[in-house]
Amino acid sequence: MKIRLLIALVGLAISFALPTFAQQTNTPDPQLHQRLVDVIKKHGDAMNNNDATAAAACFTEDAVYVTDRGPVNGREAIEKWYADLFQKVHFSDHIITIDQDSPHIIGTDGKEMWATGGWSTTIKGENFGPTQIKGYWSVIREGDDWKIRMLTSNITPAPVATAKTAESK
């Protein structure tokens, strides 16, 4: 498989490990932020274990995952998407950064929120890698357990110099 295509696919598999990083403005309740870190860790663990079922379990039944190949609708389809991905690529060293402003609570009952952050991961396939890639994400979570209702991710393009070098070979 072409490496670039694979990397693009993989980048969307946004793993969710932990950390927290910066931005500005209003700081959320530390307890809510920690709660977000905790739910994100579940997804990160699933990714580090290359476990499609566990990763999909982080989503609501009617979730949509907006990948750069198009939206994947529903938990079942998302699980298949992850399963297909893990068959081709092995993930490790997932690091997820959470914007310090997150979560942004929607409404008054605390059951809906959105958040943003960044991600990086190391991928290895049969004919490539290990390679580190990174990007950014946003999410809407809902319910008592803040499952993912909508997730969108992107991939930071490779540095120009590197790309030129690669293409000139």
Binding site: K2, I3, R4, L5, A8, L12, Q23, Q24, T25, N26, V64, V66, T67, D68, R69, G70, P71, D99, D101, H104, I106, G107, E112, W114, T116, G117, G118, G135, Y136, W137, S138, I140, M150, T152, S153, N154, I155, T156, P157, A158, V160, A163, K164, A166, E167, K169
Partner: protein
């Protein structure tokens, strides 16, 4: 044009055309909200067509966030600068956007869609496409973007890269 550059430069051609779409969730059946949403989309498309960074930034809330492949840009001034930088390097033409899902949530909404755009470059036109999601906040009788994220579908690898 070297394709790896594109995600950085192509940017957010997000259009908000709403093809016979209706709100789901707590805004289901709210025709007025849908009309206002369509009007908002037209404003966005016009501003983008004019490459008007200031007009685009005004469509975000003061604390709006734009999540790009290059990073997160928080606050209207940062968003305006991002658009200004984009339009300085690239001239978008034939920008088309489409909203595929529209959901009411509390006093706001969120949507998912796709975008296509042709950009003029020194080497001729470059086509780019991708997907986006946006959270909207109510603003009087209209809408503002509270947070928007976009990605870009990778172009097929060039022959030289497949060797």
């Amino acid at each position: 044009m070297r394709m790896p550059l594109l995600p950085t430069l192509a940017g957010l051609a997000i259009g908000f055309a709403v093809p016979a779409l209706a709100f789901e969730g707590n805004l289901a059946g709210d025709v007025k909200a849908l009309d206002e949403f369509a009007a908002f989309g037209m404003k966005y498309d016009e501003a983008y067509k004019e490459s008007d960074a200031a007009a685009l930034a005004v469509l975000f809330t003061e604390d709006g966030v734009l999540v790009t492949p290059e990073g997160l840009f928080s606050g209207r001034p940062a968003v305006e600068k991002w658009y200004a930088d984009l339009f300085e390097r690239w001239h978008p033409t034939n920008n088309i956007g489409q909203t595929d899902q529209l959901n009411g949530i509390d006093n706001g909404a969120w949507a998912v869609g796709k975008w296509w755009c042709t950009f003029q470059s020194q080497n001729g036109p470059v086509f780019a496409r991708g997907y986006w999601s946006t959270i909207y906040a109510r603003d009087g009788d209209g809408w503002k973007i509270r947070m928007s994220t976009f990605n870009q579908t990778p172009a097929p690898a060039a022959p030289a890269e497949t060797k």
